[in-house]
Symmetry: C2
Amino acid sequence: MSPGPEKQFDTDAALERAVQVFWARGYEGTSMSALMVAMGIGKKSLYDTYGNKRSLFLKAVARYTDLIVTDLRNRLQRGGSPLDNLRRLLCELESGYAKAGSQGCLLGTNAADFDTEDGEVAEILRKNLGRLEEAFFEVLSRADQEGELRDGVDPRDLARMLMCLTQGAALVGRVIDERTIPNSAFASAMALLEAP
Amino acid sequence: MSPGPEKQFDTDAALERAVQVFWARGYEGTSMSALMVAMGIGKKSLYDTYGNKRSLFLKAVARYTDLIVTDLRNRLQRGGSPLDNLRRLLCELESGYAKAGSQGCLLGTNAADFDTEDGEVAEILRKNLGRLEEAFFEVLSRADQEGELRDGVDPRDLARMLMCLTQGAALVGRVIDERTIPNSAFASAMALLEAP
DNA sequence: TTATACATAGACCGATCGGTCTATGTTTGT
DNA sequence: ACAAACATAGACCGATCGGTCTATGTATAA
């Protein structure tokens, strides 16, 4: 913990801008030049502060996931029953993905971008997708305890299904806009898992 | 229809090899050099026969979708009830996506790869994802007619959900292998839509 | 003052990108 | 024999890639 002089730019804010670029364009589609411009810092500062492109990307993934998992948890703990919260969340996600220019999820977009042989990145994306699944699992467990789920369905399995479904909808939303969106996929899923 | 001399290599077989490369590595991750090697033809022949990279990619997408939609339809029309066929298909898809090195679906992978501003490619991917949805819709309609579906669920909505769900599982499967696969996501979906 | 750690701009590197073009066969039909 | 349409290999193009490095300036701490 050497005190030393502090960085002369806001490293968190710059990283957040990097997140936006990777989110919009994916790893391969993002150049270091574009990152420099978006982050508002010079090439030397970029490499000195965040390492190389891959290392910067991994930092961006961590930051992105922290933000969306926190956001997800908050939205799943608003007023109303667990299933009410879930229904509302899915509805909001759906309309977000339906917007023209929707970019999907950084995790999914880059899971597609990286070579499947790249074990290190796969491991990190896997871990972070797991955090999304966990947020779904929590709310489904609460719903189960309150008897809101259909008999015989498993919260863990449902959480996995919802994680996959949201990733798929985020992906499909990249090429489908509000005129053609499968805007009842989530509602359909909700109707299925509710207790009669 | 000028008769003229025929190509001295199998243009279909070469295109099929291009499909494999785009499937494995995505658009940005695929170089023309890699395509030349995989297709076994020279650079000049490649450009003369298929145009530029983008045009070759679009041809590859069309070919890929033709193949998998045909395959999907066949697998949904085997012996047994419509829902039996669907259940079997989802089970097979699931174990395929769970295999280490599973590459997902070319459509989804490249939906993530392309900029959302690229309307032409988005339109083509959208159309071809629609063909997948249509295959699901057909079997779900048949199931509905035979009373196999839960009351009140709509085959169209379910088809959209399954299309999104399979895309998501294909994507997630790229970074999750058989040790950690959400291998009950599909079973869970099936259990939900069956009539009690 | 001096040393240190930061910042900046930008030259420079080798490699690779998508794409064009020249040169040189080779097969085919007339 | 000859022309047309194909094939090949590979030189070449400008642009961009990720990444290094030099030169210069600046704010802070001792």
